[in-house]
C-alpha cells in the first residue's frame, strides 16, 4: 500500500504541470462534492426530524384543542380546561411550539364561526399568546412586526388597536399593508380612520385589497368622506373616489367639484367620471367653461360624461365638435347627437342623419 502511494507520488511529480493541476483540481472537486453530500444528508436528516417533531406536537395540540372545546360544552369552565390552558401556556414559551400552537388554532379558526371561534379566541388570550404577539409589535425587525399584526388580525384582537395605529406610517410597506388590513378587517369603515394620518402612498393593489375586504360588509353606516377627498395624499383621494363610486356618496358632490382643479390630472379625470355616475348636474356647467383648456384625457372624459348628462341646451355646444380631431370625442359627440349607434362589440352603425349634421365620413372611416 505504502509502495503504491510512493509510486503514485513519484509518477505525479514526473508529470506535466498541466496534468498535475488537473489532478489537483479533480481532487479538490471530489472532496468538495463529498463534503457537500455529507452536509446535505445531515441537513435532510435534521429537517426530517424537525418535521416529525412538528407533526407530533401538532397532533398533540390538535387533541388538546378539541379536548378544550369539548370540555367547554359543559357551560362552565372546568378543571380539565384549566389543565389544558396551563399546559399550552407552558409550551408557548418555546418558539417552535408557539408557532405550532398558533398554526393549530388558526387551522380550526379559519373554518369555524360562532361559539367555537369565540372559544378559540378565548384560549388565545388565556395561553398568553396575545402578550407574545403584542410584544413583537415593538420589534426592530419589520417582518416580525408584520407577522404579529397578521396574527392579531387572524385572531380578531381589537385591544391592540391603539398600539397598531401608531405604526401606520411604518417605513416598510408590508407592515403598513398589514396594519391597513387589520384596521379594515376588524373595525370595517371605522378602521378607515388611518386615511386621516397616512403619509405614504396607498398602492393600487392595496386599494383593491381593502375594497375587497370592505365589500364583504353590507348595511354599515358609512363615514363622512369629505376630509379624505381634501387630503394632500393623492392616493387617499384616489381611494376615496373609488369608495364614493361604490357607495354612491352624492353628499360629497362639492368636494368632487373642487377636485376638477386638483393638481393631479388622473384625479381630475376620475372626478369628471364620477359626475355622470352620481348625476351631479350642476357640475356640467362648471366643466363646460374652459373644457378645452384642460388635458385631452379630461376633454375625452367630459364628452363621455356628456353622453349621459347633456341637456337640450348643450346641443349647440356639442354640435360644434362633431368633426373634432380626436376620435373618442368625435364618437361621443355623434352618440349624443344620436347619429350613430355603438353595438356591444364596439362596432357602430350610422343612423339616418339630418342634412344639417353632416359627419365627416372620411374622418370616421379613417378612425
Amino acid at each position: 500500500m505504502l509502495e503504491f502511494f510512493q509510486n503514485s507520488i513519484d509518477s505525479l511529480s514526473s508529470m506535466h504541470i498541466i496534468i498535475k493541476i488537473c489532478i489537483y483540481l479533480s481532487l479538490v472537486l471530489a472532496s468538495t462534492i463529498f463534503l457537500s453530500l455529507i452536509y446535505l444528508k445531515n441537513l435532510r436528516d435534521r429537517l426530517k426530524i424537525k418535521r416529525r417533531i412538528e407533526a407530533t406536537y401538532q397532533k398533540k395540540y390538535e387533541s388538546d384543542l378539541i379536548e378544550y372545546l369539548y370540555a367547554g360544552d359543559d357551560e362552565t369552565e372546568n378543571e380539565q380546561q384549566q389543565k389544558i390552558v396551563i399546559y399550552l401556556k407552558k409550551c408557548a414559551a418555546n418558539r417552535l411550539k408557539r408557532k405550532i400552537i398558533i398554526g393549530t388554532f388558526l387551522k380550526l379558526k379559519n373554518d369555524v364561526s360562532g361559539e367555537t371561534a369565540d372559544a378559540i379566541q378565548k384560549l388565545y388570550y388565556q395561553t398568553g399568546l396575545i402578550e407574545s404577539a403584542t410584544s413583537k409589535l415593538k420589534s426592530k425587525k419589520w417582518d416580525v412586526v408584520a407577522k404579529a399584526i397578521r396574527e392579531l388580525t387572524q385572531f380578531e384582537i381589537k385591544e391592540t388597536h391603539d398600539e397598531i395605529i401608531k405604526l401606520v406610517n411604518h417605513p416598510k410597506k408590508q407592515v403598513r399593508f398589514e396594519i391597513q388590513k387589520y384596521l379594515v378587517q376588524l373595525f370595517r369603515f371605522e378602521g378607515l380612520e388611518f386615511l386621516n394620518i397616512i403619509e405614504n402612498e396607498l398602492s393600487e393593489w392595496d386599494q383593491i385589497q381593502l375594497l375587497e375586504i370592505l365589500n364583504k360588509f353590507k348595511n354599515l353606516q358609512l363615514p363622512d368622506m369629505s376630509d379624505w377627498l381634501r387630503s394632500k395624499n393623492d392616493s387617499v383621494v384616489s381611494f376615496t373616489l373609488k369608495l364614493v363610486r361604490i357607495h354612491n356618496q352624492f353628499g360629497v358632490k362639492d368636494e368632487i367639484i373642487a377636485l376638477f382643479n386638483h393638481s393631479n390630472p388622473e384625479i381630475r379625470v376620475e372626478a369628471i367620471n364620477l359626475v355622470n355616475h352620481l348625476g351631479i348636474y350642476e357640475a356640467v356647467a362648471i366643466l363646460k367653461t374652459g373644457v378645452f383648456e384642460r388635458t385631452l384625457e379630461e376633454q375625452i372624459a367630459f364628452f363621455k360624461m356628456m353622453e349621459e348628462m347633456s341637456m337640450p341646451d348643450d346641443i349647440e355646444f356639442i354640435k360644434e365638435h362633431m368633426n373634432h380631431k380626436n376620435f373618442y370625442i368625435r364618437i361621443s359627440v355623434m352618440k349624443i347627437m344620436n347619429l350613430i349607434t355603438v353595438g356591444d362589440d364596439n362596432t357602430f352603425t350610422i343612423n339616418n342623419i339630418a342634412e344639417e349634421y353632416q359627419i365627416n365620413t372620411n374622418l370616421t372611416k379613417a378612425s
Binding site: N110, V112, S113, G114
Partner: protein, 122 residues
C-alpha cells in the same frame, strides 16, 4: 339491529374533522372520516351512509366528483351537504346541479351544522 345513523365526512382539515366527530358522536351519530375524495368514495360504497358531508376542494377527488359518483354511479338519494369557502360560489351552483342537498359556507358554526343534519335526517 343497529339504529345509529352513519354519516360520512370528507374533509382534509384534520382538526375540523376531529371537532365534528366529537360533536356528532355526542349527538348519537356514527361518523366515518375520509381525508380525501377517494377515501370518501370507498367509505360510501362500503358503508351506505345516511348522510354525506363533503368539502368541495379536496385532494385526488373533489367534492363535486363525490356527489356525481353518489348520484350517477351509485344512484343513491343520500342527503349530501357541501362545505364551500369564500369565492367558490360557482362550484356550489355546480354542486346543486349535480344533486347536493344543502351547503354551508366556511367558516360555519358546528352547532348550526348539527341542526341542519338533524333536520335532514328526520
Amino acid at each position: 339491529m343497529n339504529l345509529t345513523k352513519k354519516i360520512v365526512l370528507a374533509e382534509d382539515n384534520s382538526i375540523l374533522s376531529k371537532l365534528l366527530q366529537f360533536k356528532l358522536e355526542k349527538e348519537g351519530y356514527q361518523l366515518l372520516i375520509a381525508n380525501n375524495g377517494k377515501e370518501a368514495v370507498d367509505l360510501i360504497e362500503d358503508n351506505d351512509p345516511d348522510m354525506i358531508l363533503t368539502d368541495i376542494m379536496m385532494p385526488f377527488i373533489s367534492g363535486l366528483e363525490v356527489i356525481s359518483h353518489v348520484r350517477n354511479k351509485l344512484d343513491r338519494n343520500t342527503p349530501i351537504v357541501v362545505f364551500s369557502s369564500a369565492g367558490q360560489e360557482e362550484m356550489v351552483l355546480n354542486a346543486f346541479n349535480l344533486g347536493a342537498t344543502d351547503f354551508m359556507s366556511k367558516p360555519f358554526s358546528p352547532n348550526e351544522l348539527i341542526i341542519r343534519i338533524k333536520r335532514l335526517l328526520q
